[in-house]
């Protein structure tokens, strides 16, 4: 259950510190991952050697910066097996990517009577933008139900089949739930949506750095993710869109770099990806995101997935043994991603997090940007432990020991 790559932890400087006098156990990877040396170095190298504005420059530094920036785009296209680098739009992250589709696509295509479909367990970032798009257009937002009192049953596929009428213009769903750990059957969902002519949008924030991902095999129209959850820097993310859809889409933001001709009266747009990248892009972080792709592929995403799965299995078994614990999402032994969310009857998640922190264990407690789901499950918050490639079984033992101490303290 230790990472299958010897010394992989040495790649992550942040892991080698004490928190409250104890070696840090970082189990908040669902919120953001740590960064390997090679990604940090990519930033430093860019700023020390190549830094320049891109696209409109003809001097050496500007050409180097442009090549590196566009090279990162190509690298990321390759990482998700997109057909064309022009299908990769750099954004700040998942949230901005989804907003871009909700606004640009939503504004052009949604009208009263249309249905936008999503699920009962979306992150606020894949929910509120659709509420707004529905409100702006007069479309109706509907939710595919989640099965099970603890959300253990996943999406209700029978209900989905009923909901998927020709009125459905767009179906937005998460690949992996950041709260339940549920892995959605995304290729199947895309197939079903396509059958009624609905456009699909996948929130891949929790999957991109954790499992192999191939947009053409999945068959989605749009896919959104953040760099910071996949060993990349903050401030950079991606919207993948099928080229033919992107070329029909109006720009979301306007300004320098995305125009062909500008007069005082009007302006015309470049094709994708420039059309959607107004202003100076986040050059350095895009390049570092390319370095993150290299890092993850060098380890092997199938191996990362296997390690995540092994860790969460052990964690589920050990956590289930704790008295009074309620674990949400798929049951022990069922397929789930490398995170687990739980609640104690008598200790609030924030107290759990504060106590675990005293033991050097970093957890997340709260509604995980999933308020409606929490309410549906009769919870106000959970504590979440989320694993990544550098976590070890020993760290799970540290987690469990800390939880035992907490229970004892509050049982007092």
């Amino acid at each position: 259950m230790n990472p299958p790559w010897p010394n992989v932890r040495a790649d992550f400087p942040v892991l080698h510190q004490q928190v409250n006098g104890k070696p840090l156990v970082y189990l908040d990877n669902g919120a953001t991952s740590q960064k390997p040396r090679s990604v940090i170095d990519a930033l430093v190298r860019y700023y020390e050697r190549d830094n320049s504005n891109v696209h409109r420059g003809l001097h050496t530094l500007s050409m180097r910066a442009t090549d590196a920036y566009e090279g990162a785009r190509t690298r990321i296209a390759n990482f998700i097996n997109a057909a064309d680098p022009a299908e990769i739009i750099f954004t700040r992250g998942t949230t901005e990517s989804i907003n871009l589709v909700a606004r640009s696509w939503g504004h052009a295509h949604l009208k009263p009577g249309d249905v936008v479909l999503t699920t009962e367990f979306e992150h606020h970032s894949n929910l509120v933008p659709w509420q707004q798009a529905a409100k702006a257009s007069g479309a109706t937002l509907k939710y595919v139900p989640l099965l099970g009192a603890d959300g253990e049953g996943g999406l209700d596929l029978a209900a989905l089949d009923k909901l998927l009428t020709p009125q459905v213009k767009l179906f937005a769903f998460t690949h992996i739930s950041n709260t339940l750990g549920t892995i959605n059957p995304v290729a199947e969902l895309c197939r079903k949506a396509r059958a009624v002519g609905a456009v699909t949008v996948i929130d891949a924030a929790q999957s991109i750095g954790h499992i192999p991902l191939d947009v053409r095999q999945i068959g989605c129209d749009f896919l959104a993710f953040s760099g910071h959850k996949m060993c990349g820097p903050t401030g950079i993310g991606v919207l993948y869109g099928r080229r033919d859809l992107l070329d029909q889409l109006a720009p979301d933001e306007t300004g320098g770099g995305m125009v062909v001709n500008v007069s005082y009266e009007q302006a015309t747009w470049k094709p994708s990806p420039e059309r959607f990248e107004a202003g100076t892009p986040n050059v350095a972080d895009a390049i570092a995101l390319g370095a993150a792709c290299n890092y993850l592929d060098a380890l092997g995403r199938d191996q990362i997935a296997a390690h995540d799965t092994a860790l969460v299995k052990v964690a589920m078994e050990k956590l289930s043994a704790l008295p009074g614990i309620r674990i949400i999402g798929p049951r022990v032994g069922a397929e789930r991603s490398g995170l687990v969310s739980f609640a104690f009857a008598n200790v609030h998640a924030h107290d759990v997090v504060t106590f675990a922190d005293e033991d050097g264990v970093a957890l997340r407690g709260g509604h995980h940007c999933n308020q409606p789901l929490m309410r549906k499950l009769g919870l106000t918050s959970t504590t979440r432990a989320s694993f990544y490639l550098y976590n070890t079984e020993e760290e799970i033992d540290r987690l469990v020991a800390s939880l035992q101490r907490i229970q004892k303290f509050f049982a007092g």
């Binding site: 409250n20 609030h348 924030h350 504060t354 407690g365 929490m374 106000t380 303290f409 509050f410």
Partner: protein, 151 residues
């Protein structure tokens, strides 16, 4: 980090385990709700004003031990008080949870909240119920959200 027992004193644990005046107040003539959007804590305060005094007071809600205990302590300390008196008591609590200074004789059991000042992220938890109570006193039905307050 300071020792957690500073934060989770026995008074806090006791009030968390057995919150006083918890539940709806059937005779309430004022109610206000508080939200801590960063962490999802919620608190509704019910109170009955008898003339200019708080005749009775209760709270409902969910949150961490700090927020629950602080709300419970709040009900004990505000019952029977006028609005200006309540403001004064809260000023002392605010001083306490932001600086840790216990210099008011009349803080009594509230002194248990002093440990909060070493955990700035928890200050909002400790003040949530108080904000709701002050809003209820003002007859302000608007939801108190801790994000609009500088603490």
């Amino acid at each position: 980090m300071q020792d957690l027992t500073d934060l989770y004193q026995s008074v806090i644990l006791d009030h968390n385990r057995r919150p006083r005046n918890r539940g709806k107040l059937p005779t309430a003539n004022r109610v206000a709700h508080g939200d801590n959007p960063s962490c999802g804590d919620q608190c509704t305060v019910y109170l009955r004003l008898d003339g200019d005094r708080i005749g009775d007071i209760s709270f409902e809600g969910s949150g961490c031990a700090i927020s629950q205990a602080s709300a419970s302590l709040m009900t004990l300390n505000l019952k029977g008080k006028t609005a200006p008196e309540a403001e004064t008591i809260y000023a002392g609590v605010h001083e306490l949870v932001t600086t840790g200074k216990v210099d008011e004789d009349n803080l009594s059991d509230l002194a248990a909240l002093a440990g909060v000042h070493q955990f700035p992220a928890r200050i909002k938890c400790a003040t949530l119920g108080w904000h709701a109570a002050l809003n209820a006193l003002k007859g302000d039905p608007i939801t108190a959200t801790t994000e609009t307050h500088k603490d």
